[in-house]
C-alpha cells in the first residue's frame, strides 16, 4: 500500500495583516513573523490525513523547535495579503529545517526565515527519528 505524501512541491499559507499586528509606525511588528511561521507550520501538519496520530496524548511525542530565525526585508502594512511559501531542507535522521519565504501581492519578498525541528519521546527521555507522518509532508517539499 502506497504511503500518502503531500502532493505539491511547496506549501503556501496566506495571511492578511490586521491592525493588531502592526506597531506604532504602521509596520507589521517583528514578532508576528515568528508567530506566522508557527501558524504556517501547523497548517502544513494539518494537511496530513492522519495528523491526529502525531498529536495523540498517548504517544508521548514532543515536537521541538530547536532554533528559529527570521530576517525582515520590506515593510508590510494593515490589509496586505502575505503569501508564505514553505519548503524543507537539511532533512537528517533526527531533525529537519523548514524554510519560510513571505511574499506580498506583487510577489516581492518581504521577509524570510527558517526553523529547525526535532522530536522527543517524553516517556523514554530520548530524541527519536523524524516520524513518518512528518516525513510524508516534508520530503515532497524539499528544496532542491
Amino acid at each position: 500500500m502506497n504511503r500518502w505524501q503531500y502532493p505539491k512541491k511547496e506549501f503556501v499559507y496566506v495571511k492578511r495583516v490586521l491592525i493588531k499586528q502592526t506597531n506604532a509606525f504602521g509596520n507589521v511588528y517583528f514578532s508576528n513573523y515568528l508567530e506566522w511561521q508557527g501558524e504556517a507550520r501547523e497548517s502544513l501538519l494539518l494537511e496530513h490525513p492522519n495528523y491526529k496520530e502525531l498529536f495523540s496524548q498517548s504517544n508521548n511525542l514532543l515536537m521541538i523547535t530547536h532554533s528559529i530565525y527570521n530576517r525582515f526585508i520590506k515593510s508590510a502594512f494593515f490589509g496586505m495579503h502575505i503569501n508564505m511559501h514553505i519548503t524543507s531542507s537539511l532533512i537528517q535522521k533526527y531533525s529537519f529545517v523548514l524554510n519560510f519565504h513571505f511574499f506580498d501581492s506583487k510577489n516581492e519578498l518581504i521577509s524570510a526565515g527558517w526553523q529547525k525541528i526535532c522530536f522527543f519521546d517524553n516517556s523514554k527521555n530520548v530524541f527519536i527519528p523524524i516520524p513518518d507522518i512528518v516525513l510524508d509532508l516534508v520530503e515532497p517539499i524539499k528544496k532542491e
Binding site: 537528517q92 535522521k93 533526527y94 531533525s95 529545517v97 526535532c118
Partner: protein, 90 residues
C-alpha cells in the same frame, strides 16, 4: 567496509564534522578550525540533537551500526576518532 587506519578514520571524521557544523548553523555561516583537540560542544557548537544526527551520518559514512548512547560521553574530536578506531576493530 574493509579495515581502515586511524589516519583514514580521522580524515573521514573531519570531513563529516565540517559538513555537520555547516548544517548545525543553518543560514548563519560558521567558520572554524577543526583539530583533534576541538571540543564538539564548546568549540564546534554541537548540541544533543545535532550529535544524534551526526552519529547517524557516521553510521552511513563508516557503514557500521553505532549505539548513539556510546557517544554521549565523547567531548572531543580525538575521543571520537579513538572510539571509531576501537569500533572498527583496530
Amino acid at each position: 567496509m574493509g579495515k581502515i587506519s586511524r589516519e583514514e578514520i580521522k580524515e573521514k571524521v573531519m570531513e563529516l564534522v565540517r559538513k555537520q557544523i555547516t548544517i548545525n548553523r543553518v543560514g548563519a555561516g560558521f567558520n572554524v578550525d577543526i583539530e583533534e583537540a576541538s571540543d564538539l560542544y564548546s568549540d564546534l557548537g554541537f548540541d544533543s540533537v545535532e550529535l544524534m544526527d551526526f552519529v547517524a551520518e557516521l553510521e552511513k559514512g563508516f557503514c557500521i551500526a553505532i549505539d548513539a548512547n556510546d557517544f554521549l560521553n565523547i567531548k572531543t574530536i580525538k575521543q571520537l576518532i579513538d572510539k571509531l578506531d576501537s569500533l572498527m576493530g583496530n
